[in-house]
Subunit: 446 residues, 2 copies
């Protein structure tokens, strides 16, 4: 009998063989969700110039000293400075420039008086707002009454106060969410170098499989696995390609896989990996033959394409396979065929592989501790690590720990229960029973 592998041994073997994808330059929005491979250095100060943080009037301090509503400072308005203005007027003594939020502080001006602290150039009481330039162009000239003094640099955002040139905006490894995309745009980066999303080719195997929407003949069932695994690959951040179900014929399977290698960064199959006489994945891939062999039928680089099939100390998901195939040594994970086994195997092995290809840490899902709720104790086969489906309740405000209740039984064909679960309950190999109230390890799924 060959070795029985632990869950961690199998995962570590996979991760040892997987290299992050080669970086590529992507347009900023295409890079969302990807990890930077460069430290992004700020090329120029942000903001690039001193600018106003308010809609108001750019003034000299001495001109508005002691100003009040009763005794306003009356200044000549020398023009408008809108955001984006280039040629700036100089503000001299007794003058003000009407200025908009984000517009450059003009030479001579030392601070900005918000429009609400003035009459808005209307000659009447305190203003709520400026009148639109299009309807009242005269407000860019004439006089403004200022009702309050300002201190130097008040309502001015200094050049470089957000980021200074030469500093690191974002470190290599940062995963780009909306705010990071925004910062990169703000410092002028229209494209960045990241690890791309891996292309994951999903196929299920089984002569009994029929596409959903088509009628079932005797002995047939609908193909669920290629759908579960495609959806899970997308949720993990990959670009999935669903090939669908392949019949239990080794030659068909090998040629399908060979065809798909061209667009795969990772291949995932389900079914055909156990001890049956028609376990075609095992049959097709355990022979030492090369995909993409050269003209003499020799492996392209001398490496063999054998996938190693293993028995894991795990329930569900005992039969697993992993290898590197084809000219690019593309990783392939062969999962068992029961839908629940396939999905649990995806979470434990494929998702980490996808994250490793994307260069994102941690590759494993975070776990939490929770108390087992419910009335019945859980039993688990000794010597096997069991992953039960559960419904997790996070801790309430005054609790240290949430709770989890098992959903459905341990049967690996119970996909209805899987669809009601939002977590896996991880029962260690040595544990054979867990009574309600005991602490267990839970893997929340999203």
């Amino acid at each position: 009998m060959s070795k029985t592998w632990s869950v961690d041994e199998h995962l570590e073997d996979i991760l040892r063989s997987i290299r992050p994808l080669e970086p590529i330059e992507l347009n900023l929005l295409d890079a969302q969700g990807c990890a930077l491979v460069e430290d992004v250095i700020v090329p120029a100060a942000l903001p690039p110039f001193d600018n106003s943080s308010m809609d108001g009037y750019a003034v000299r301090i001495a001109d508005v000293e002691g100003a009040s509503e009763e005794f306003p400072a009356v200044l000549s308005v020398i023009g408008d400075i809108a955001a984006g203005s280039a040629g700036l007027p100089t503000v001299s003594s007794g003058q003000a420039a009407r200025i908009m939020t984000g517009a450059p502080l003009p030479p001579g001006a030392e601070a900005v008086v918000p429009v609400e602290w003035t009459d808005g150039g209307t000659g009447s009481g305190p203003a709520d707002a400026m009148r639109a330039h299009s309807s009242a162009p005269q407000d860019a000239s004439g006089q403004v009454r200022v009702h309050r003094p300002v201190v130097p640099r008040q309502h001015v955002r200094a050049k470089g106060s957000d980021v200074r040139p030469g500093t690191v905006a974002l470190r290599a490894g940062t995963v780009l969410g909306p705010a990071q995309v925004g910062l990169l745009a703000a410092v002028g980066r229209g494209a960045v170098t990241v690890r791309p999303r891996p292309r994951v080719v999903v196929l299920s195997t089984g002569s009994e499989l029929v596409s959903p929407g088509e009628p079932l003949g005797p002995g047939q069932i609908h193909d669920a696995n290629s759908f579960v695994l495609t959806a899970a690959a997308r949720a993990a951040g990959a670009i999935p390609y669903r090939v669908g179900a392949v019949a239990d014929d080794a030659d068909t399977l090998r040629s399908t896989i060979e065809d798909q290698l061209i667009r795969a960064d990772l291949l995932v199959t389900s079914g055909g990996v156990s001890v049956g006489a028609y376990d075609v994945v095992k049959e097709a891939l355990s022979r030492v033959e090369a995909f993409g062999a050269d003209e003499d039928g020799e492996p392209a680089d001398g490496a063999s394409d054998a996938v190693e099939f293993r028995r894991l100390a795990m329930q569900p998901g005992k039969p697993q396979g992993f290898g590197l195939i084809g000219p690019d040594r593309t990783p392939i994970l062969t999962l068992p065929g029961n839908p629940v086994s396939a999905y649990v195997s995806f979470e434990l092995f494929v998702r980490p592989a996808v994250r490793a290809l994307m260069g994102q840490e941690p590759v494993r899902r975070p776990t939490v501790s929770a108390r087992l709720s419910g009335e019945s104790e859980l039993t688990s086969p000794e010597g096997k690590r069991q992953f039960l489906r559960g419904a997790y309740t996070p801790p309430a405000e005054d609790e240290e720990m949430g709770s989890v209740s098992p959903v459905g039984g341990s049967g690996s064909h119970l996909i209805a229960a899987l669809a009601q679960a939002d977590a896996l309950i991880d029962i260690p190999e040595k544990t054979s029973r867990v009574v309600p109230g005991r602490e267990v390890t839970v893997v929340p799924l999203d």
Copy 2:
């Protein structure tokens, strides 16, 4: 002075006006992430027939009673039943059918003996596995020695044991993740009726804005907002269309919006909503004129297209606008132009609107309590609800509550700090200071 709105009043007004999108039928994988609008009833039993949970031999109970390795039951193998087999042999007394996992239990058989409890038909000791049918076709006939008895129905999955026909597989409102997609496939649904992802058109306004990657002239800055908001819309589940920056000209803006209405379920703008003389969004949209007017220039349905501009008791994000425009009464949210204000406004108002369009609850992000860490107290303008950027640390194993530390200051132009934050700290209107160690409300962002 017009009324000052609270954050909640503004959000409630938006949500009151927004109806979930009309349901459409989508192919199963296109429906991932969407909410069902139908109860999905199981049309037929799952599994559709009694089937084997193991690779082994289908037998009659009496034939293997008392069997052991020393005194095996010797049965005639009458053929193979692979998964997907249609015409099934009948198992009579003294006979066994070799059967694969998932294959239908043949008539006459009462249980399945796993291959590991037999000699696999080889005539030697206990088998590890079946030999592949392609290399040893003789194993589908001949004799098998069975080493252990079975009880009735052992290793048989009963028809309907996963789901029974007529029961509800998934309720209306369920959001389709990988497991739900899998269940729908398993019950034969190739397409389902869901609320689709809303198409969100994003445009920023400002004559000072230049696309990232292009050089800056005097007084210019790079457009960050259309990137932040597009990325945030995608992260919220929408299909975003980034129009980019529009100059501060009311006619250009109106015609751009009119052009975009055709593909928008929701419009989001940034900038131009405050009290300045060039606040073009306010100027273009507060006039009571109709988009998509009929030939006489009359509003299509008599309704006006005015967007209501408001002052909120909020920092950042004081100036906000909301309205329904065009022939389809498309919702438009006009956000302020500072990048941090725009992003915080998106989280507080646009994200809930997107989720309401998708029919997904809750529309608001969940909040948690956390202790304020760090050395300095926070100050907050009284009468304004403040949303500071923070770094949140979830509670450790033995803690009831996590902690949060402020990142950067309160300046609404500090996009570098925003990119380091993973949470918002929500300081109520009445609170003007918070000392370290005090409990605050935190909104974790993803």
